[in-house]
Structure formats: structure tokens, C-alpha cells
């Protein structure tokens, strides 16, 4: 990519006005993004982001709409795209849970036990109803351009708590919808990029026949050193020497700097990662809590891994839901399947974090790229809806037991306290102690932000 500055040029340019973060990013490049002070005291030190890809149906899960139930089967008059379509009431009942009486689907019985910890936002909206664009916008704020992911911004802003682990890890991310861009660093230093762990695993049936573990944690290939530790250290020093020599000849290049850092990190990871990924050290009751050992427990393993990584100091952890929530048809059946696959592990994660006293400074986010239409598609499904949908957050400084914002009477469009992706990102950064207007990176003469030129912190959800 671009070789931008020589080191001298970089320093000169910086003295004329690049933000303090760019300077500290450079200063910390040697030490692998050491921990940095936030702009103001943080409520959350880290984020566990549960990505529900495909667009979960908010009117079936969290957004209770009596009017929609009443008008089930009636013609929807919601503009061009709904022409002729019929309103479609929730396919499974919603009920109130907890002291707070939060409305939630009955398909999430275990998560519902945490109703008083959840801050449910029913007024989300995003710009486009297409998966790839909306998925990209959910991660980077932009549906059009390749921009740094929110995880990369977090790492850039706060550095890492553990220099032996990547600060931003994504477990089994979906390869579509922009793939690596969703955990990419774009113009931020390459070391801010998410490290992908995982890949395809053996189906249970074959694993049993082969007497192999389905997934002893997501697979981590090449983690066993090929040579003795001393020799490898010498190798890495030689590689670093060659790379530095190259930069002296060619000028500082963020890609090469990133490569130097990634070898250092890789070397340290070899000693730390196997321990973090090894779930066998967890006691039986914890494995049970998450549902590990049951059929299809991959997501449960990931949730437990997320807790272990959070504990070990990883700043931003993203997990993708096992199923896709893109329910254009057979919503009733498929929604139940997806909820069943995620209910226990997510509930366990919240229980576990709470028991360890970590929920108060760990922000858990549950979100898809958009929601679904209140009217039917194919008779028994719903189409994409970006004008209003739901997500929830828990821990990390958000008010539990709160339902924030609302859609119109049938759940089509955000109406009360609408929260655009930019507002949501601004709020997440705020919880992390970062002012979204000050978390900037000067690239090509312009100070870029995760929230572009908008974004308002939703103060109403702050605990």
C-alpha cells in the first residue's frame, strides 16, 4: 500500500498538528500498543461484541408491538417497498421479564433471567437495507468506503492490556459481507487490525468417529514453535534487523512496521495463546453453565473463550452467531433455532462475567446489521428493515433494565430517540472513555473519526 512518510517527515508533520493519538501510536509502536489513558474515566475497559449476522427480527425478539399483533394480516401501508404486503405479528409470543418488566421473546428464556441487566435499544436505524453495506456500516460507520473497524479504533484509542495477546480478536468471522474489512484497520496502524482465530471444524459425527475433538477452542494453527525458543528469538531479531534495514533504505512504511510488530506479537503469543484457548482448565460447572459438551457447542465455546480473552486483557472481542438471522422465510422455525443456539451461551457469559465482577467494566453488545420488516415476505418470513430495529447492551456502564427508544406503532421505523449507527458508535466509545470527536486520525490531511461528522452520545442509557 502506501509508503507515506519517512520517520523525519513524520515527526515534522506531527509537530504541525496531527493528533496526540497518532503520536502515541508511533511512540507505542515499539512496545506493541501499550495501554493508554482514555480521554476521561472509562466505564468499560473492554468490549465483547456478539454479532448476530443476517438481521434478527426485532419485532419478534425485543420490540413488543400490540398494534402489530392487532393488525396481523392487514395490508401494510408503509411506503413503496411494502406495497401489497400484509402485516405479520410476532411468530412467538413476547413477555415481560425481570423487575424492570422488559419485553422480550419467550424464545430467550435464559437470557430473560438477565432482563434487568440488559439495556434494550429499540430505536436503532442504519442507512441501507443490504447485508454487505449494513454489516460494514455496523463495523466501521461507513457503508461506502473501507474504514477502520470499531475494534481497531478501540485498540488505537486505548492500546492493549496484555502485550502477549492481540488487542482485537475476532472468532470465526463470516467471510462474506466484506470479510476482513469488518475487522480491518484501514488507514490506522496495521497492528490495530483484528486477529482472526478460527475456521472450519469437524462436524460432531465425524469427530466422534475419529475420536478427535471437534474444536479444542477454535483452531490455532502454527502456534507450536518450529525451533527452540532461543533460536527463534535469534531468527526474529534477524528478521527485524532485515526489515529495519529495508525501512532505512525505503522510508518508513506502516506495512513493514506492522510486519515487525506482528512477528514480535506472534513470538509472545506462542507462550500465552495456547493457555487462553485451552478450555480444559475450566471447571466442570463452568463448562456446564455454557452448555459445552452438548451437541453443537461451538458458540458456547466461543462465549467462554471470549470471557477468557477478556480476562486475559484482550480489548475487543468479536464473536459471530452460529446461524444466520436472515429469515426471509420459515421465520417461526428458524428464529427458534437461532435463539436456542445462542440463549444459554450468552446467558452464561453474562452470569460468568458478573460472578467474576467483570460485567461492570465489560461492555457486552448484541447486534445485527439491521432488523426485519413488520410485514410478511414469502408468507412466513420477513424482509430486511433498516429504518428501525433493536440491539441490546449490558454491563460496562449502561443502565440495566432499560428499554430505550421506540419504533412507530408497528415497529417499522425508529420514532422515539432514534439511534443511528453513528450515535451508537459514539456511545460505545464514550463508555470506553473516548470522546468520539477527539478520537481522530489524520489521514491525507483530514482528521477522520469513527463517527464521520455526526454521532451523538445517547446519555439516557448511561448508568
Amino acid at each position: 500500500m502506501n509508503t507515506i512518510f519517512s520517520r523525519r517527515e513524520m515527526l515534522t508533520t506531527m509537530s504541525s498538528g496531527i493528533g496526540w493519538l497518532a503520536f502515541s501510536a508511533l511512540a507505542h509502536a515499539r512496545s506493541g500498543l501499550a495501554s493508554k489513558e482514555p480521554h476521561f474515566p472509562a466505564r468499560a475497559k473492554r468490549v465483547i461484541f456478539l454479532t448476530m449476522r443476517g438481521g434478527p427480527s426485532h419485532v419478534d425478539l425485543f420490540d413488543y408491538k400490540p398494534e402489530l399483533i392487532k393488525r396481523d394480516g392487514k395490508t401494510a401501508s408503509l411506503g413503496r417497498d411494502s406495497a401489497g404486503a400484509k402485516l405479520f405479528g410476532p411468530v412467538h409470543p413476547l413477555k415481560q421479564f425481570g423487575k424492570s418488566g422488559q419485553w422480550m421473546t419467550t424464545l430467550y428464556p435464559q437470557l430473560a433471567q438477565h432482563a434487568d441487566d440488559l439495556c434494550i435499544i429499540n430505536s436503532m436505524h442504519t442507512d441501507l437495507p443490504n447485508h454487505a453495506q449494513a454489516f460494514g456500516q455496523m463495523h466501521s460507520g461507513s457503508f461506502q468506503f473501507v474504514r477502520p473497524s470499531i475494534g481497531a479504533w478501540t485498540l488505537y484509542g486505548l492500546g492493549t492490556e496484555n502485550e502477549n495477546l492481540p488487542g482485537f480478536i475476532t472468532l470465526n468471522p463470516p467471510a462474506d459481507n466484506g470479510g476482513a474489512q469488518n475487522y480491518g484497520s484501514s488507514f490506522l496502524p496495521a497492528i490495530c487490525q483484528g486477529t482472526r482465530i478460527g475456521g472450519s471444524q469437524l462436524p460432531e459425527l465425524y469427530a466422534a468417529l475419529l475420536k478427535k475433538d471437534v474444536a479444542p477452542g477454535p483452531p490455532m494453527k502454527n502456534i507450536v514453535p518450529a525451533v527452540s525458543s532461543d533460536l527463534q528469538r535469534a531468527q526474529i531479531d534477524l528478521i527485524r534487523g532485515l526489515n529495519e534495514r529495508k525501512m532505512e533504505r525505503d522510508g518508513v512504511d506502516p506495512e513493514i512496521e506492522g510486519a515487525i510488530e506482528s512477528f514480535e506479537l506472534a513470538f509472545r503469543m506462542q507462550s500465552e495463546v495456547p493457555g487462553v484457548l485451552d478450555l480444559r482448565s475450566e471447571p466442570e460447572h463452568i463448562l456446564k453453565l455454557y452448555g459445552i459438551g452438548q451437541a453443537k457447542d461451538q458458540f458456547a465455546r466461543q462465549c467462554l473463550l471470549a470471557r477468557r480473552m477478556a480476562e486475559a486483557g484482550v480489548r475487543f472481542i468479536e464473536i459471530a452467531s452460529p446461524g444466520n438471522w436472515d429469515h426471509h422465510n420459515r421465520l417461526r422455525e428458524l428464529l427458534a433455532t437461532n435463539c436456542a443456539a445462542t440463549d444459554q451461551p450468552i446467558a452464561a457469559l453474562l452470569t460468568d462475567l458478573k460472578a467474576r465482577g467483570m460485567l461492570k467494566d465489560t461492555l457486552v453488545v448484541w447486534a445485527g446489521e439491521f432488523g426485519r420488516t413488520p410485514y410478511a415476505q414469502s408468507g412466513d418470513g420477513r424482509d430486511h428493515n433498516h429504518k428501525g430495529y433493536s440491539i441490546w447492551m449490558a454491563g460496562g456502564g449502561v443502565k440495566g433494565g432499560l428499554t430505550y427508544g421506540a419504533t412507530d406503532e408497528v415497529g417499522h421505523k425508529a420514532a422515539l430517540n432514534p439511534m443511528h449507527i453513528h450515535d451508537w458508535h459514539a456511545t460505545i466509545l464514550h463508555l470506553l472513555g473516548l470522546d468520539h470527536t477527539r478520537l481522530t486520525y489524520n489521514y491525507g490531511g483530514r482528521d477522520f473519526r469513527l463517527t464521520n461528522v455526526s454521532g451523538e452520545v445517547a446519555r439516557g442509557i448511561l448508568a
Partner: protein, 794 residues
């Protein structure tokens, strides 16, 4: 800081200027406009109801169909005010919503009366409306035919320099011959030069270019680029990941066609309609059938039980792949509604869909527990020396299988007759339902496997030459247009045909699917996209970024070209020159723009052109996954340049990818081969380690622009991967006997001698053990392979 015009535009758009009028606008007016009006009246939303846009100063003053929205100083004439005040019942805005609060309306009134200060002036990006109808579509740059620019005598360099001069930038000096030679080798054949001293003399450059273009290695490199675009894979992926053991023939077809420089228009036609093209002999017939594999190798929802849905989805995937690959267009978005940002209607979509629905796809998967949709295969003419990797079986076994098949068919018939009889007699057999269902499933799954086996051999059990691909359906039918894409809601039949926005006179015939005409339509000189899209793809591979950086998206939501005239110039030259990809590549690599150094006056260009869109210097580029791996094999001396016959996938038993876990003969990283990487198995969701680590194209998607990531997992692979260790050990053996082994290692890996500092580093490393310590020498070589210089082209 000196700001360029573009930067000003950005800053002005972002920050209100200091004066009061603008700050009033920013605090009181803009937020209301954004919140209540932009949805129907802005470039961002792509809508301009009533011809009105409200997102720029010019647009708000020009107004819409009924007159200016804002007349500075004149509240009465400002229709915007009329509308939000609800003083005219025919013009109440925002529609279907309560009237805005009085305070807002008062703000607007005050703002207009005081002169309607509006900072969103001409410096803001000119608002562009999404060309969603045919008329505006024909005005959009990419749907207009390319025109040869008037000033084209300076060729590529002329266009590049003109833009550089406008920005006050100068081109970089020529790259060092050694650097240029490495760049050229990586770009053209994907391997490092083995010997460079004499070849790299500038006088020999053109000769070198010609030699590389003629090398069989060229097709392996550039064929792979095309395989990215056509989402080539040897398995289905998705929820039923079954192998395509005959797909490799398509891979070889592509490599051979690229080597033979088959004209690109012909190349496209062969892949879309090879079965309908005339063939002079059996060899050509086979080649043309194999070419249609393009349409057969996409991911499919094999477990779909509804046949009509499956057929519609396969046609959709084909339509999407063809239009993205050839036109960089997302026409498939119009399946459920008219395209939201481009001029493609549902009629356009279903016109094309009818063509694919009148086509039968042969992908070879038989029915089993994972697959409800039998794929069949195309039988190829038998040719001398033809490779047939599928296995023969004894003639006796064929007889046996046929007997089993007959038995199963009879069993099925009997069960059906039994149920029918019970129904006639009014006898209740619900108690037997479960047992009957089990029998039915057993019959279907067993029969699937037998039919699959029988299709691969003749009556004597001799393995047949087979391929995946397409042929016309027996039934040629127009498709219905389905409301919101739902098969349950047909609206009307749409005649097979082509999107309206491009004015090309071709019609689909009654008696054929129309794929041949689709090929003609795509490769017509009047098609404004095909040539532009291809020259842009080529440009991307030679410079690291396309002239249109969104190489797979030439629509409204894609980027605009950095050098529109250059793009047109290249597209027209490409068509005029008989669509020769090799000539196109030659013209580009002979340009001074391609040959410039990657260094140069960086500080200046970093400020004026941070992304090097204007090409004031060459881009440093991380090599592609295949090039990294092949280069390791090349320097270790282990590279086997011969073509791998067939594919590993063709040698697997059964069709389920999941079952590969049983096969202990397979290396877990699917690697270990010494052939070039293009011949490694491409199993969806199960790619060889090295390719996966270094951002290989995702074979589920049309990919013209791979990601480039830089993560610790790559470092772990380079440090600990068994393949890298093997190459390092081989390289150590190769240099061991040389008295100048460090120099030799540097020459092999980097095509240069080490400098003093590097010699010192190397010697320090090697002093850790004795001179004949081969393991230490391998560790040294390993470090060179893992260094950044090895995987970057300068």
C-alpha cells in the same frame, strides 16, 4: 498547512465557517433538514421527490417541479416554508407526519428572511442523483459508451502526467533495473527472476516483457486472477459442502486460454455459451463445453427441497456472477425490487433470469443426505491422451449396480402402489407412516449414490471423460416476474432479454435459451462496461489499485474513476486491438508510469495525494498468497513447474467435504505439493493454509480486489508452518556448499547482494553454531523467507 481543493471541499462540508449566518444554519436549519427532509430529497438517499433536492445550496434554491424551495429574503416565495407551515393543503411537508414544531418553523422563517446563509455551497461535492431510471442511467458515466479522448497521443503516461501536473506533482524517477525486474516477474508470471544480472539491463526490458508474456507461467498467474473473478472452487460450500471433482478442467481451460491469449470477447462468449458455439472438431467441442463450467461452479443451496426455488436460486447466482464478473454490476439486486441506486428494474432482472432458467446446469453432485438436487455431468468427446482421473470399475460391477437400481425403483413403485391402494380402499395406514418414510428415504439416498457412480462409467465400467458446465434446457421459457422475488407471487411473464439502460440491439431467440445472445450483448462494442471493467481489472493487478478502485462495482455506489479519459482510452484500444489481454498488459508495463520507482517525492504526494491515486510513484505491494508460496518453492529449488494432472479433489472418494476428515493421507493444511499454487485444491471453507493466511480470494464471491491484511497469524505461519520449514531446509541445502552462501541466499531471495550491515547481521546469526550446522543454516534461510522484503514488490 497548504490545502488542496479537494481538502477544502471536505473541510467546508464538515465545518461551518465562522460567521453567524452559517452557524445559525448549522445549529438550527441543517439538523431539521437532515432529520425530516433528506430522506426524500437528497443525494445520499438517492431520492428527489418532486424533482427537489435539499442537500446543497444550489439545489435548495433551484427547487423542484413547483418552484424554488428557498428564495433568500423572501419568505412568501419560499415554497419550503409554505410546505412546512402547512399553509397550502396540497403541499404539506413532511408528508404523513405531524407538522413540525412552531419553533422550527420560526427558525426557517428567520433564516430565509435574513438571507438564507447556506455554507453548503459549490465546494461541497456536487449532489449526484442515483441514476435509478433508464433516462438518468444513460447519463451516468459508466453506462455511457467510452469515447476516445481528443488528446491521446501521449498514451498512458500523457494522461497520468496531465493530472499530476494539475496537482503540482511530478512523476518519480525510473525504478532501479533490479527492482523493476522483480516487479515485472511477480506481476507477469508470479515468480521471482532466477537470474537477473544481464536481463535487467534497461535495453533488454521489452524483450523481457515479451518473453514473460509467452511463458506458460503467465497463464498460471493471470488465469488465477480470472479464477478469482469467476469464484472458482472445487466444492459447493454453504450448508452442503460437496466436491466438484471435475471442476479442475475449467481451471486448466482458463490457464490455457490466457496463455493462448484468446481474445477477451471470445473468452467471455465461450464461458457463457460455449455449448452453443460451433466447433470444428472434437477437441474444440470438449474445450467449449468445459468453458461453460463458469456457470456451474457457483455455491448452491443443495439441500433446498423445492425444485422451483432451487432452479430460481441457481439462475440468480449465475446471473449475479456473470454481471458482476463481466459488467461489475449488481443487477441481481433487482430480484425483489427495482435496484435502489442503479438503473436496473425487475423487468431487466427477470428478462435475464429467463435466459438462465432456460439453461440446465451440470454440476455432478448426486442426491444424498446433504443434497436434494441431482446435478448430472456433461460427457465429453473422447480425445487421444485425455486425462481421466475418475476411476473405472469392473463391467460386472456395472451390471450389479444396474440391478440394484432396478430393484430400488421397483421397491419404490410397490410402496407407492400400496399407499395408493390403501387410499382407494379407505384403509388407514398412518401407523405405517414412519416405516414407509424410512424406506422412501433409504431408496432415494441409495439410488442417488448408484446413479452417481453409473454416470461416471460406460457399460463396460470404463471411466468417462466428464465435465461440469451448462446446456440449454429442453424447455425454453420466459420467466415470470415475481413480486418481491417470491415464487408464490408471479405477476407477469417477462420476455427473455437484456437490461434497457444499455442500448444494444440483440434479442433472445425462441428456440434457444438466449445465452449466445447474452454473450453477444456483453461483448458488443456498444456495451460500455465490458471493456472498461476488464482493462480496469488488469490495471488493478499491475498497480495495486484500479482506476476505479471498486473494481467489481461500476455502479452508482462504486467509486468514480480517477482518470476517466485514460480508462476510456485503454478500453477503446483494447477493443480495437482485438481484445488482446497480452497486448493490453504490454502497453501498460511498457509505460513509464509502470516503470517508475516506488520512492520519489513522497512527503509532497502524501499531502496532496495520500492514496497515490494520481500515481506519482509506484505502489509497494504485498505479494499475493500464491506468489509468496511459489516464490518460496522457486528459491528452495523444489518448484515443480509441470502442471499438476487433475486435482487432489478429483482423487477423493465420495463427495462430502466433511468426510475428508477421515482421509489420513491428506495433509491437514491441504498443502505439501511442489506444484504451483494455482493447482492446489480450492475447497470452499476449507482452503490450504498458506492461501487462507495471505488473503486468497473468497471463492464464494466474485473477487477482483483481494484484501491485504497484516496480522500475527501470518507471522506464526511464516515462523512455524511446516511448508515454510521445508522450503527453508531445501534452500539451506542449496546454498550449503557455496563459499559465498550468504550472498547466494540474498541473490536467490531478493535478487541482490547483501549490504554491509546485512552481512554483519547474517554473520552474527550464523556464529551461533558451527559452519556445517545445517539446521542453523536452515534457520537463517527461514528468516530470509519470513522477512518483509521477500513478500513485497517494490
Amino acid at each position: 498547512m497548504k490545502l488542496t481543493r479537494t481538502l477544502w471541499a471536505l473541510l467546508v462540508a464538515v465545518h461551518a465557517s465562522g460567521d453567524d449566518g452559517a452557524s445559525f444554519f448549522e445549529s438550527k436549519i441543517r439538523p431539521v433538514l437532515v432529520k425530516h427532509c433528506y430522506e426524500c430529497h437528497s443525494a445520499e438517499s438517492g431520492k428527489s421527490k418532486g424533482g427537489l433536492m435539499l442537500d446543497t445550496k444550489a439545489a435548495i434554491r433551484a427547487g423542484g417541479d413547483t418552484g424554488p424551495a428557498v428564495v433568500p429574503g423572501d419568505a412568501a416565495k419560499s415554497l419550503l416554508l409554505t410546505a412546512i407551515k402547512h399553509s397550502d393543503p396540497d403541499l404539506e411537508m413532511p408528508p404523513k407526519e405531524p407538522k413540525l414544531p412552531d419553533a422550527f418553523i420560526a427558525d426557517f422563517e428567520a433564516w430565509i428572511k435574513s438571507g438564507a446563509d447556506d455554507p453548503r455551497d459549490s465546494a461541497t461535492k456536487v449532489a449526484e442523483r442515483a441514476p435509478v431510471d433508464v433516462k438518468s442511467g444513460r447519463e451516468f458515466w459508466s453506462y455511457k459508451r467510452p469515447m476516445m479522448p481528443k488528446q491521446a497521443s501521449g498514451g498512458i503516461d500523457g494522461f497520468i502526467r496531465e493530472k499530476l501536473a494539475e496537482t503540482g506533482l511530478k512523476p518519480a524517477p525510473p525504478a532501479e533495473p533490479r527492482v523493476l525486474m522483480r516487479r515485472l516477474y511477480f506481476d507477469l508470471i508470479g515468480l521471482p527472476p532466477s537470474d537477473f544480472s544481464e536481463k535487467s539491463a534497461p535495453a533488454n526490458y521489452e524483450k523481457q516483457v515479451d518473453e514473460l508474456l509467452q511463458s506458460p507461467r503467465f497463464g498460471e498467474r493471470w488465469g488465477r486472477h480470472w479464477l478469482d473473478v469467476v469464484r472458482y472452487a472445487e466444492s459447493n460450500g454453504r450448508e452442503s459442502n460437496l466436491t466438484f471433482p471435475h471442476a479442475w478442467r475449467f481451471r486448466d481451460y482458463v490457464i490455457d486460454a490466457v496463455n493462448a491469449d484468446v481474445p477477451f470477447d471470445r473468452f467471455i462468449s465461450e464461458q457463457i455459451a460455449g455449448d452453443l458455439l460451433p466447433a470444428k472438431d472434437d477437441a474444440e467441442r470438449a474445450r467449449l463445453l468445459i468453458a461453460t463450467g463458469f456457470l456451474a461452479i457457483g455455491p448452491k443451496g443443495l439441500n433446498e427441497q423445492n425444485k422451483a426455488q432451487f432452479a430460481a436460486d441457481v439462475a440468480d447466482e449465475q446471473l449475479d456472477a456473470v454481471t458482476r464478473a463481466v459488467l461489475a454490476s449488481s443487477i441481481a439486486c433487482a430480484r425483489c425490487h427495482d435496484h435502489k441506486t442503479d438503473p436496473f428494474s425487475m423487468e431487466d432482472y427477470y428478462g435475464l433470469a429467463g435466459i438462465f432458467k432456460s439453461t440446465q446446469t451440470f454440476y455432478g453432485n448426486w442426491v444424498d443426505s446433504e443434497n436434494n438436487n441431482q446435478g448430472h455431468l456433461i460427457r465429453l468427446p473422447e480425445l487421444p491422451g485425455q486425462l481421466i482421473p475418475n476411476k473405472s470399475i469392473p463391467a460386472e460391477r456395472v451390471k450389479q449396480l444396474k440391478a440394484e437400481l432396478a430393484k430400488l425403483n421397483q421397491e419404490e413403485k410397490d410402496q407407492k402402489a400400496y399407499a395408493e391402494k390403501a387410499r382407494e380402499e379407505g384403509r388407514d395406514i398412518t401407523g405405517e407412516f414412519y416405516k414407509m418414510l424410512q424406506t422412501a428415504i433409504r431408496i432415494i439416498w441409495t439410488r442417488g449414490g448408484i446413479e452417481g457412480q453409473l454416470e461416471r462409467v460406460d457399460d463396460q465400467g470404463r471411466a468417462l471423460p466428464l465435465c461440469v458446465g451448462v446446456k440449454d434446457n429442453k424447455l425454453i421459457l420466459d420467466s415470470q416476474l415475481y413480486d418481491r422475488g417470491e415464487l408464490a407471487h408471479p405477476v407477469k411473464a417477462v420476455a427473455r432479454g437484456f437490461p434497457q439502460v444499455l442500448e444494444i440491439k440483440v434479442a433472445a431467440p425462441k428456440e434457444q435459451s438466449g445465452r449466445l445472445e447474452l454473450a453477444l450483448w456483453l461483448t458488443s462494442r456498444d456495451n460500455p462496461l465490458t471493456a472498461r471493467v476488464m482493462v480496469n481489472r488488469v490495471w488493478r493487478h499491475l498497480f495495486g489499485a484500479g482506476l476505479v478502485r471498486t473494481v467489481d462495482n461500476f455502479g452508482f455506489s462504486g467509486e468514480r474513476p480517477s482518470h476517466p479519459e485514460l480508462l476510456d482510452y485503454l478500453a477503446i484500444r483494447f477493443m480495437d486491438g482485438g481484445w488482446s489481454v497480452k497486448e493490453l498488459i504490454k502497453e501498460i508495463v511498457m509505460s513509464e508510469t509502470y516503470r517508475q520507482a516506488s520512492g520519489g517525492q513522497r512527503a509532497k504526494s502524501a499531502e496532496a495525494d495520500p492514496e497515490n491515486r494520481l500515481l506519482s510513484h509506484a505502489n509497494k505491494r504485498r505479494l499475493d498468497a500464491e506468489v509468496i508460496r511459489d516464490s518460496m518453492l522457486a528459491v528452495s529449488g523444489l518448484l515443480d513447474e509441470s502442471r499438476r494432472p487433475g486435482s487432489l479433489v478429483a482423487e477423493l472418494d465420495g463427495q462430502s467435504v466433511s468426510l475428508m476428515g477421515f482421509n489420513t493421507k491428506l495433509p491437514s493444511d491441504l498443502d505439501g505439493s511442489h506444484h504451483r499454487s494455482v493447482y492446489l485444491p480450492v475447497i470452499r471453507d476449507h482452503l490450504p493454509d498458506v492461501l487462507e493466511q495471505f488473503d486468497v480470494a473468497n471463492p464464494n464471491l466474485v473477487t477482483g480486489d483481494r484484501d491485504v491484511t497484516n496480522v500475527p497469524l501470518q507471522a506464526l505461519y511464516l515462523l512455524n508452518g511446516s511448508f515454510v520449514q521445508e522450503q527453508a531446509a531445501a534452500l539451506a541445502k542449496r546454498i550449503q556448499a557455496s563459499p559465498h552462501r550468504v550472498n547466494l541466499a540474498f541473490q536467490l531471495c531478493f535478487n541482490r547482494m547483501p549490504d554491509e550491515e546485512e552481512v554483519a547481521l547474517a554473520e552474527k546469526f550464523l556464529r551461533q553454531g558451527s559452519a556445517d550446522d545445517l539446521k542453523l543454516l536452515a534457520a537463517f534461510c527461514h528468516s530470509l523467507l519470513a522477512s518483509a522484503e521477500f513478500r513485497f514488490a517494490d
